[in-house]
Symmetry: C2
Amino acid sequence: MKIDAARFLKDLHDLRAIGAAGVGKGVVRPAYSEADIEGRAWIAGRMRAAGLRVEMDAMGNLFGLADGPSILMGSHSDSQPEGGWLDGALGVIAALEVARAAQEAGGPAVSVVSFQDEEGRFGVTTGSAVWSGQLDQDAADALEDDAGVPLGEARKAMGDMVTGPVDPSQFTGYIELHIEQGPTLDDSGEQIGVVSDIVGIRDMKVTFKGQQNHAGTTPMQVRKDAFQAVSEFNTLLNDRLRNVVTPTTVWTIGHVSLHPNASSIVPGKAVFSMQWRDGDSDRLARMEEIIRETADEVAKSRGMELSYSTMLGLEPVAMDARLRDALAQGADVVAPGKWRKMPSGALHDATNVARLMPVAMLFVPSINGISHAFEEDTGEDDLVAGVKVLAEAVAAL
Amino acid sequence: MKIDAARFLKDLHDLRAIGAAGVGKGVVRPAYSEADIEGRAWIAGRMRAAGLRVEMDAMGNLFGLADGPSILMGSHSDSQPEGGWLDGALGVIAALEVARAAQEAGGPAVSVVSFQDEEGRFGVTTGSAVWSGQLDQDAADALEDDAGVPLGEARKAMGDMVTGPVDPSQFTGYIELHIEQGPTLDDSGEQIGVVSDIVGIRDMKVTFKGQQNHAGTTPMQVRKDAFQAVSEFNTLLNDRLRNVVTPTTVWTIGHVSLHPNASSIVPGKAVFSMQWRDGDSDRLARMEEIIRETADEVAKSRGMELSYSTMLGLEPVAMDARLRDALAQGADVVAPGKWRKMPSGALHDATNVARLMPVAMLFVPSINGISHAFEEDTGEDDLVAGVKVLAEAVAAL
């Protein structure tokens, strides 16, 4: 099977012109916007030209179907409000090129998908969440964007393209090519990342309640300073997690809210976010133990009240071994010595699709790790290398 | 000289009834409010009954003047929006009682003052700031309260009580009795604090600018996390200041603002307040050096930008040795073994008055260290002890 690099790159640049931001290669193509609908109509035309049968479900997920059982490939063509040209679009156009190359080579059967609202105008990966049964259509329709528009209203704009439900049982697996959106491959000079798993997330709010006091008249030794509690917790935690984590584990305190948050008042209360991500459920659980033990210890030693919000938990999704191995073998052919196995720290449509079938993912580098911004870019040789690895893998399945 | 404890306490409770909050002993008597004006009119009546000549300057600072050179004593009778019955009022009524007792004893001459807006409806200790020449009347008049009312408008409400400027040169010194507003005396079971100095303050905002990033795709080792910088700075600073400070030095990070302050984003920017207070200018300067060195070190090691706001500096005010010694001797007589020398961590009118004449201050305990709240209270035996120390000191001068 031989991919046509020029045809692939021309399609990618043609799609970029739809909703072009006019700043660098940026695009503005949020879910259900005019540009998004125009983009999906254009993709549907390219699917038909490639001999695929075009179908769209009620959410606006767009499929180009091969006959009989097939492997599904793709990503999404909606963008962030200020997005790059590759986030999602790369996976869709790469899938289209592999489908064409496979047809030209006499097989195997490759279908193509562009999921809707991966970028979360209305929620988190809502298109693939509905298709995979994670989210009811009714519940999805009630979701509103930042301007208060319900998804149920917004999706009417592409109602005349809808054909009906698309049966997942026709697909033998799902492979998604995506830009890394982080700096790892760009820093190491590698071309390809074969994803081992999409990491799980734990996220909660933690509250220390101490005693609000006058910052002039309250001696240090009697203070119950909630910011000091957060800082001590953070310092202890960083130290204790080192023994448990891997180089790809991440943890973040991204939100801190002090009360009353005034320079002359010892803070009586601190609410902060504690988020951690890892590909292994057991490690996530061990980290949770350490987090709760450490917060408890700090609260006790400082005479403070400690409370937690409900914890949000998304389980890690391991990539299917057979599909992943096929991608790894393809990477060995296309980019020998210039690829690695790595987890995906971000969520993708593949997380939802994994409920239905075996899934795997492939990354190409993001220059300077930048994404969700007009500056997002990847070298064209890396883009082509990604498509070639997909083709090698599909041919070998 | 013999003070009349019952007369003193009755006056204190009578003043409390003016603007009584209806919650415990709380009062609501903010500067220029109806209750404040009624309170000042009532105090003026008590001054006249004590044979003092009543004068009020344009700001609403109320004086009860003895003939000839005199020692000035007092505090303020305006309250916080939700205030206690003793903050300010105690110093005014105690001064009135000492003036009466001194007259009954045939001397010395004691004048009484209630400064206006000590609680800062319009600024910081604005009444004594204007009287001491720290602040122009015109500049003061332009100050607005939280509702946008200019001081120049508000003070018209007591215009018919104004007699004109009050010459500071008639006073030989100023002594202010105040509640501690902190827990030190209450915790130690002592009755009296002889103030050594009103501490100086340094206050500024510090900004660490790092790199905002995705909390899932950005590995720990490449992050430039602004919250981590604040936390490390705080931890290092606490350790380094220990070698420089005294048990009464305080330092506070009371305000922290992260950007964009979201749980899934590595914070790219942190602005926080750094405030420190001490009675010694050299120590304040040494602390500043350590603060700037530590912030600089953290910024360098993490590859971050560091910037500072303009630093607010109020110099420490040492109490006059002669007045302070007189108070200490009085404390030895009234509360032997149950008093201490201590700094004032809060600002008081005495800070401004120190520009004009020798000043000294005396503290009585605050139960549980609570002030600026309806629950504010002090045992009546401690209140009386405070007045007795004033009387002893004045008699000895």
